[in-house]
């Protein structure tokens, strides 16, 4: 599943650690999501979308 987490995070000038801290996950997990190595659970996907003021569909794209 593709996503725009990296682009949105960089737009907000957030580091991976900073985003991870805001979401309650590790920096490595943010990195894994950005590189499409890990698909987050629905609650985490919603939390990520809310963090960027977007919807899940706007952040995550099913191929």
């Amino acid at each position: 599943m593709r996503n725009d987490v990296r682009r949105l995070r960089e737009q907000m000038k957030l580091s991976q650690s900073g985003l991870g801290e805001a979401l309650g996950v590790s920096r490595q997990t943010v990195n894994a999501i950005e590189n499409c190595r890990y698909d987050p659970s629905l609650p985490l996907a919603i939390a990520i979308a809310r963090q960027f003021g977007s919807t899940v569909e706007e952040v995550f794209h099913v191929d």
Partner: protein, 139 residues
């Protein structure tokens, strides 16, 4: 507030010293067992190996996520918990395979260990069936 702080401190302490404590305790058990069997070399090597494992884990904990995940009391998110479950599943699969192959091998060679391997294989099978029913109802 103070409870949260003490919880956090306790977790940090457990995370920091848990590895060393666990490895040392297991090493001492191996040492005592080795001494009881009259095999000093086996006992001492067990203690040394366990201590070395704990030291390597402690040194690399900050740099390696895997080493961090192997530390007790590590605060894990959903991905890290999934890694733990996958690692546990792989461990179980490998152990089951070894036990089943061991059973057939010992059974074919008419070894007395066939009963032990057979019991372990039966336990693994029953646990798998039982846990499948349990999680199918729970999830």
């Amino acid at each position: 507030m103070s409870t949260d702080h003490s919880d956090s401190t306790g977790r940090q302490l457990w995370s920091r010293w848990g590895n060393l404590g666990f490895a040392l305790a297991l090493g001492v058990v191996l040492l005592v067992t080795g001494l009881a069997r009259g095999n000093v070399l086996l006992g001492v090597s067990g203690l040394v190996i366990m201590c070395a494992y704990a030291v390597v884990l402690e040194v690399s904990r900050r740099r390696s996520e895997a080493a961090h995940l192997l530390s007790p009391g590590a605060r894990n998110d959903e991905r890290q918990q999934q890694i733990g479950v996958q690692a546990l599943a792989m461990t179980g699969s490998v152990l089951t395979m070894v036990v089943v192959i061991g059973f057939f091998w010992t059974y074919a060679t008419d070894s007395a260990a066939a009963a032990v391997f057979g019991g372990l294989a039966a336990l693994a099978g029953l646990t798998f069936i039982g846990s499948t029913f349990f999680f199918a109802r729970r999830c």
